[in-house]
């Protein structure tokens, strides 16, 4: 991509640029310097430490960390969980955004609050709550036992807890955007005789594709990294119910710090890729807005 030509910023207000609060050179320099320093210490240093610790004994030790069967299983389980959870929450996000953004009905605000509720709840509470539904002493425990279905301390429990924790991600990105875009295009499509699925596929989704992608990316990062909720429902069985974050804790407790940090670099990479994707999507969005 070629660099865009630099256009001089129009001065919005002849005198304003000079008299705005904090525009003095000294204030500006001190504030930017202080913020950059604190950011380097609290945000950049932890990221650097992960890679430094993982590579402490060289690339050989780093690569060897991934050879352990438990770790490979944890990678596989984490990928499978994301493959199941992310599409389900994309579906939920689209359904929730469709009814909330395209229609007005009593209780709509309450529904919005309910969709966002999992964000306000500690993952530990989520884990405990699921245990009280599907655990042996839980609401459905006896029934599940009679049918010989195992959900707690097994893979289905991990997936359910992950669904809870990440339910709002896609919906929260789509709802404000779809409200802002209005329904004129959909209404026009209806007049032209298009059915609901066709409208969704050809009109609505293309209009919100960047927000949808971003929501899905965030959802994915969170599923792969969820720790609190999963640590309660998984039972932490090595090579059976251990996802990557749980594997990190196990390796750390085993005093295998290099391996713990090596596994952590994988999840850090997922997080960094997510943030880069966000930056790209925002830029595309802005370019699209400017083109309109």
């Amino acid at each position: 991509m070629a660099a865009p030509p630099t256009i001089p910023r129009p001065r919005k207000d002849g005198l304003g640029a000079r008299v705005r609060v904090g525009s003095g050179a000294a204030t500006r320099r001190v504030l930017i310097g202080a913020v950059l320093l604190v950011t380097a210490l609290i945000l950049v240093a932890p990221l650097a430490a992960i890679f430094a610790e993982a590579l402490k004994h060289g690339w050989g030790a780093y690569a060897a960390s991934f050879a352990a069967p438990d770790t490979q299983y944890a990678i596989w389980l984490t990928l499978i969980t994301a493959l199941v959870v992310v599409p389900i929450n994309i579906g939920f996000g689209i359904a929730a955004a469709w009814c909330i953004a395209k229609f007005s009905f009593p209780g709509r605000n309450l529904l919005v609050a309910l969709v966002e509720l999992p964000f306000s709840i500690s993952p530990i509470i989520a884990g405990v709550a699921y245990l009280f539904v599907y655990g042996a002493q839980g609401l459905l425990g006896p029934t599940l036992e009679a049918w010989d279905i195992k959900i707690m301390f097994a893979v289905p429990g991990i997936m359910l807890a992950s669904l809870f924790v990440t339910a709002p991600f896609v919906a929260r990105e789509l709802i404000p955007l779809m409200i802002a875009q209005g329904s004129e295009e959909e209404e026009a499509a209806v007049t032209l005789g298009a059915g609901g699925w066709r409208i969704l596929r050809l009109v609505t989704l293309p209009n919100v594709r960047f927000a949808l992608l971003y929501g899905a990316a965030l959802c994915n990062a969170r599923v792969m990294g969820e720790f609190g909720a999963v640590s309660i429902v998984s039972g932490n069985i090595r090579g059976q119910t251990n996802t990557l974050p749980l594997q990190i804790e196990l390796l750390y407790q085993d005093n295998n710090a290099v391996a713990a940090f090596a596994v952590a670099t994988l999840l850090t990479a997922v997080a960094l890729v997510t943030l880069v994707a966000k930056a790209i999507i925002e830029r595309l969005d802005r370019a699209r807005e400017a083109a309109h």
């Binding site: 919005k12 932890p46 609190g228 943030l275 966000k278």
Partner: protein, 273 residues
């Protein structure tokens, strides 16, 4: 009501069914378990020294973490909204790191930094400050995971502030400090309060980032979420239900507070027009 567009019944049905199964059923089960404990036993569990201390430690460290994020978050939002400088885009992207990075990874990284032979732990120990395995470590973990809240609530409001009020105040001879205190801060205050509340609420429930750095000693560095986890591992379900339900109630109170602030903010904006 808009009924031209199809799919209302289907999308609302899916949404309600999904929320009922995934969100409401488990939360209902938690409340049901907590009610089963009974009022007297509930009070006995919460007033037990270990639980009461865990709550005290959690609230105190969350308050400390929130105080840090109020200052740092406000400065960060200001710098991002008001200044142009090289690396600004990178800084803006870095703000979201705590939301994208798994809490366990954050905890692991922070513990590596703050242990005695870590990059920060060594110099701090020379100054006589211990962070790892102390309440200060808990506060740092909480602060890290909740950095984005204040920034992301205040930043858009700062960007939307019109220059004319500031100019008018400056023309009248007010100092920068006075304009900030009397014009700018009141304008961003609701957003600031929202961000601070969200940051505090998040810190109260934090688990993954804390357990790596806290040392997890009962009565000293044990937070409520960890105590809940321990009670579950001990199969002490009544205690776990009582503590988790209390945390849940706190989360609802915080949520209510945030909604009230936002209502107040909307009314203020409405009356200003």
């Amino acid at each position: 009501m808009n009924r031209v567009i199809p799919g209302f019944g289907l999308s609302l049905g899916i949404t309600l069914l999904y929320l009922s199964l995934i969100v409401l059923l488990p939360l209902g089960a938690l409340v049901w378990q907590a009610l089963d404990v009974g009022w007297e036993r509930y009070l006995a569990i919460l007033s037990g020294p270990r639980t009461a201390t865990a709550f005290r430690i959690t609230f105190a460290t969350a308050a400390l973490a929130t105080a840090f994020n109020c200052v740092y978050g406000l400065a960060l939002a200001w710098v991002l909204a008001r200044y142009e400088f090289p690396g600004k885009r990178l800084l803006d992207a870095l703000v979201d790191v705590p939301f994208a990075l798994p809490t366990a990874v954050a905890g692991l990284a922070l513990s590596a930094l703050f242990v005695k032979n870590g990059w920060f732990g060594g110099p701090l120990a020379a100054l006589g400050i211990d962070v790892a395995y102390t309440p200060l470590g808990i506060a740092i973990a909480m602060a890290f995971t909740s950095i984005p809240f204040v920034v992301r609530t205040v930043q858009p409001v700062l960007e939307d502030l019109h220059a004319d009020v500031e100019e008018a105040a400056a023309t009248l001879g007010a100092s920068d400090r006075r304009i900030f205190a009397t014009v700018i801060f009141p304008a961003i205050f609701p957003a600031f309060l929202t961000g601070a509340s969200l940051s505090f609420a998040r810190s109260l429930g934090e688990f993954g980032a804390i357990i790596f750095i806290a040392g997890n000693l009962p009565m000293k560095t044990e937070v409520v979420s960890l105590l809940t986890f321990i009670r579950i591992e001990e199969y002490d379900y009544p205690a776990a239900a009582a503590i988790a339900a209390t945390l849940l109630a706190t989360a609802f109170v915080m949520l209510f507070l945030v909604n009230m602030i936002q209502l107040w903010q909307q009314r203020r904006i409405g009356s200003a027009d």
